[in-house]
């Protein structure tokens, strides 16, 4: 029961309270770039969720089973980024071969994901928070993906409506998106401190 509670709290925590986009500034590039249309945003969110779950689990495993055992912490970043790049390639090939329909819908986002800071960032944060069991690592990684999806979909929804608004000429495009994002973080700040 205790572990279940920890997992549930951890999940809600990373989805809402410690949302990677709003509190840690991770994954801002795709957040600004792909949030123009809500269906694209949702596709991107799904792709990120998938990869981040895989990468978070794998890097936790490698970190604990190999790097920490042999005192090779200095190779951590090198290993993490190679694992992520490898995982992305693997997922891409697998999808293309076995699920062509799925590949059609979000395959185009996959190459972009390697350089998505949310993924590497989450792997580093899992390490930083000292998560010491596999199940928790999996749940946190999955939660981070969901949090990213929520953030990018909210943003896309707002931006679709923003196209009809009368925005000052110089603020059109990226500037107004950033300002909107700022106001959104303000809203999400209300959740801070909810989970201790």
């Amino acid at each position: 029961m205790d572990t279940l509670q920890t997992l549930l709290l951890g999940f809600i925590g990373i989805v809402i309270v410690n949302n990677l986009v709003f509190t840690k500034f991770l994954g801002i590039c795709p957040y600004l770039g792909v949030s123009g249309r809500i269906d694209m945003a949702f596709g991107m969110g799904l792709a990120v969720t998938f990869v981040v779950t895989l990468a978070g689990t794998l890097t936790w495993f490698i970190d604990h089973v190999f790097l920490m055992q042999f005192g090779l912490e200095v190779m951590r970043y090198l290993c993490f980024i190679l694992v992520i790049a490898g995982a992305v390639q693997l997922v891409e090939m697998y999808l293309r071969k076995f699920f062509p329909a799925l590949y059609e819908s979000f395959g185009i986002f996959l190459p972009l994901i390697t350089t998505n800071c949310a993924i590497l960032g989450l792997c580093l944060f899992i390490n930083l928070w000292g998560i010491d069991n596999l199940l928790e690592a999996v749940v946190l990684s999955f939660g981070a993906g969901i949090g990213f999806t929520i953030a990018i979909c909210i943003m896309a929804g707002i931006r679709e409506n923003l196209q009809l608004a009368d925005v000052p000429e110089c603020l059109k495009g990226a500037p107004i998106t950033l300002i909107t994002a700022g106001i959104l973080t303000l809203a999400f700040m209300g959740f801070a401190g909810m989970i201790r």
């Binding site: 500034f25 801002i28 600004l32 970043y77 090198l78 190679l82 950033l178 700022g182 700040m189």
Partner: protein, 201 residues
């Protein structure tokens, strides 16, 4: 002479015309995350210059040996090595800054500026051009970071570079130190740049 002007052009392209943050909108995560004060922003900027130099030099030297398949993997490997060096150096010589920047130093690995320059410039050009390009881009990034951090630090704490500049009566805007401040300041800064560049054109 002509090669000299083109070098000049490459150098200044990074600072204004192709400024990575303000024009290309690359490397947004560190831009927003470390700009609560000038000191960490400057440290971040210098680390990025170092990593850019390292990766551009290595990639430029190896550009004839690169196979298209493994190209990106090679870039990532080089960048990750440079970042680990920077991280170790910071931990050894500037432990306070290393604490403050935390995971944002390793996150330089996925900073699109660096992989973008390796792909667009270093893998096609000679050593000298790549070095000049790295310094120009890096400086452009650092200057932008410092400007943003200067505005935020001044309004959030009334200090710049940890030295008091505002009069005592100034009430600090706590919000500027929070994520909100980062997003809104950068948004307004981009708007300002848009106005300036339109006047120039």
């Amino acid at each position: 002479m002509s090669s000299e002007t083109s070098l000049n052009k490459t150098f200044f392209a990074g600072i204004w015309d192709n400024n990575p943050v303000l024009r290309l909108l690359l490397g947004m995560c560190p831009t927003l995350a470390v700009t609560a004060a000038v000191k960490p922003a400057l440290t971040m900027g210098l680390s990025v210059i170092f990593v850019l130099l390292f990766s551009n030099i290595v990639v430029s030297l190896l550009r004839h040996q690169l196979k298209p398949h493994v190209r990106i993997l090679m870039f990532t490997l080089t960048i990750a090595t440079a970042v680990t060096i920077a991280d170790l150096a910071l931990k050894a010589y500037l432990p306070e800054m290393s604490d403050k920047l935390g995971p944002y130093i390793p996150l330089i690995i996925v900073n699109c500026i660096i992989i973008g320059r390796a792909e667009a410039c270093a893998s096609k050009n000679g050593l000298v051009v790549s070095i000049v390009d790295a310094i120009g881009m890096g400086l452009g990034f650092t200057i932008t970071l410092c400007v943003l951090a200067g505005i935020r630090e001044l309004l959030a704490t009334g200090k710049i570079f940890e030295a008091q500049v505002m009069p005592d009566a100034f009430v600090p805007w706590a919000g500027m130190g929070m994520p909100v401040g980062a997003f809104i300041t950068l948004g307004l800064l981009l708007g300002l740049v848009n106005i300036v560049s339109r006047k120039k054109a």
